[in-house]
């Protein structure tokens, strides 16, 4: 090979490698969905996943949402003052939280908390031969490990997003009424009247998609981790990076789908 073609070859290899990985992830995601609907089912694993992904994520989701809603109210008030539009704080906080910040921040928090934990757990199971042990015990690892986690994430992350939206709006409400002088009743009325069904539906759909991405990326990188502690560490790091980027990309596509027609 001539030296002049080295950069092209490197670029080609990287592109092929990337496309191959996209293909493998897509196949893995498809298999995960197919295992969800085909027996055998593992209800205990599903309930455990519901608890871990949903219930135990509530504190981090709540704290993230309340501070974001509160900061958002301050920013909108201060920015709105420049053209005498500070009265729109309740509406913009509501739309900002429900359409965008609620789902995205919950998605990213789930990527940080749940994707990393799934990837580390499954990768450790792989390194310590627990996945092989599952197979020898006539248990399909995709059915036992992946399907319950993916299904739980699809179902519970929209609920977390809904809760995050409400807590975020409440953060804006507290700042609006205690610090910025809004009347409590008027703040809530403006919030409620301004929101449309499509805003809420888009928020929940985003939650389901982000939950799916977070769980699939955790399971995929865990199942395909390298050997030893370094392999587990790399799988965990890569899973969170991939989930975060895919969540942000999916957010753009879903926002385009819901609100640009």
């Amino acid at each position: 090979m001539k030296p002049l073609t080295y950069p092209l070859a490197t670029l080609g290899r990287a592109t092929l490698g990337f496309l191959a990985m996209v293909g493998r992830v897509a196949i893995f995601a498809g298999q995960s969905l197919s295992h969800i609907v085909r027996p055998p089912y593992y209800p205990r694993e599903f309930l455990n996943a519901l608890l871990n992904i949903g219930y135990f994520s509530l504190p981090v989701v709540g704290l993230t949402a309340i501070f974001t809603g509160a900061a958002l109210a301050l920013q909108i008030y201060s920015g709105g003052q420049r053209f005498s539009a500070e009265a729109v704080v309740p509406q913009i906080v509501a739309i900002g939280m429900v359409r965008e910040l609620g789902p995205v921040l919950v998605g990213l928090m789930i990527a940080a908390r749940v994707t990393s934990s799934i990837a580390a757990e499954i990768a450790t199971m792989k390194v310590t031969e627990q996945i092989d042990a599952l197979v020898t015990l006539s248990t399909h690892p995709m059915k036992y490990l992946t399907a319950p986690r993916v299904l739980a994430a699809i179902l519970v992350v929209p609920a977390l997003v809904g809760i995050g939206d409400i807590i975020g709006i409440m953060g804006g409400y507290i700042v609006g009424t205690k610090q910025l002088g809004f009347a409590p009743g008027a703040y809530l009325t403006n919030t409620w009247n301004f929101l449309e069904t499509a805003d809420i539906v888009s928020s929940l759909v985003k939650g389901a998609v982000f939950g799916f991405i977070a769980a699939v990326m955790g399971c995929y990188h865990g199942m395909n981790s390298g050997r030893g502690a370094q392999g587990v560490g790399r799988a965990t790091k890569t899973s969170v990076e991939a989930a975060a980027i895919m969540i942000l990309a999916a957010n753009f596509l879903l926002t385009s789908f819901f609100f640009t027609s």
Binding site: M125, T128, Q130, A133, T136, L137, S138, T139
Partner: protein, 248 residues
């Protein structure tokens, strides 16, 4: 009977198995020995279908293992992994009774627990251990729990991967004796992978030595010491001098 015919397996350019031929008759205890990295574990994983051989055939009672119905095929096996491979998230008794709580062999929980406690007792552990988690056990206890899990569903064939690795000599002796007792008691076909010669002498009916990706020597354990095979002799004596290179 398990029969391997001309089994090959490579990882990239590295040939690990280069034409393995081996027969494990029903009810016999075969111990496979060989240096580190000679493909003993790969051989075992190929039989179980955890890896697929590149070429050659592996049959169980005449049926090609690649064509066998997976659940029915695996239901005939029990396996003790080198590190125990116990599930961290489950208490000991659920590890032991894993197969009895799910799938075609599923039983009511109280019955499965009773069997698990009985199997734990069989490997010398008391009922107190049943509700502990694997991380709370010593290495020797984890091996025993792994052994109890391997025999819980009373399989026809049991595989033991390096059963005494990481254990002190006394605990190794206990595990070796347990394996021998259980295999004889259950009449199971057993295949053990080890480079611990004391395990070989206790566990084996027959021995197969793997070197260079092939079976270098195979025969009854009673003939092992007088085999005259230079590779086997060097391996048994643990000498650095001989046809097996010390640096691999």
């Amino acid at each position: 009977m398990i029969e391997l015919t001309n089994v090959h397996k490579s990882f990239g350019p590295k040939k690990v198995l280069a034409g393995v031929n081996l027969t494990i008759p029903r009810g016999e205890s075969m111990v496979v020995i060989g240096g580190s990295g000679t493909g003993k574990s790969v051989l075992l994983k190929c039989i179980l279908g955890l890896m697929t051989q590149d070429s050659g055939t592996i049959t169980l009672d005449g049926e090609d293992t690649l064509k066998a119905e997976r659940d029915a095929f695996l239901a005939r096996f029990g396996m003790l992994f080198q590190g125990g491979a116990l599930f961290d998230s489950l208490p000991v008794w659920q590890n032991v009774a894993f197969r009895l709580l799910r799938g075609s062999l599923a039983r009511p929980w109280p019955e499965a627990r009773e069997i698990a406690v009985e199997k734990l007792r069989r490997v010398g552990l008391t009922a107190d251990v049943a509700d502990l988690f694997p991380a709370e056990l010593s290495g020797g206890m984890q091996k025993r729990v792994g052994l109890a899990r391997a025999i819980a569903a009373e399989p026809e064939i049991i595989f033991f991967d390096e059963p005494t690795t990481g254990l002190d000599p006394i605990m190794s002796g206990v595990i070796n004796d347990l394996i021998r007792e259980i295999v004889v008691e259950m009449g199971a076909t057993a295949m053990t992978i080890t480079h611990d010669m004391s395990s070989v002498r206790v566990i084996a009916d027959k021995v197969a030595m793997i070197h260079g990706g092939k079976v270098q020597w195979t025969g009854p354990v009673s003939e092992m010491d007088a085999s005259g095979d230079p590779y086997l002799t060097q391996f048994i004596s643990g000498s650095a001098e001989g046809p097996i290179e010390a640096v691999r």
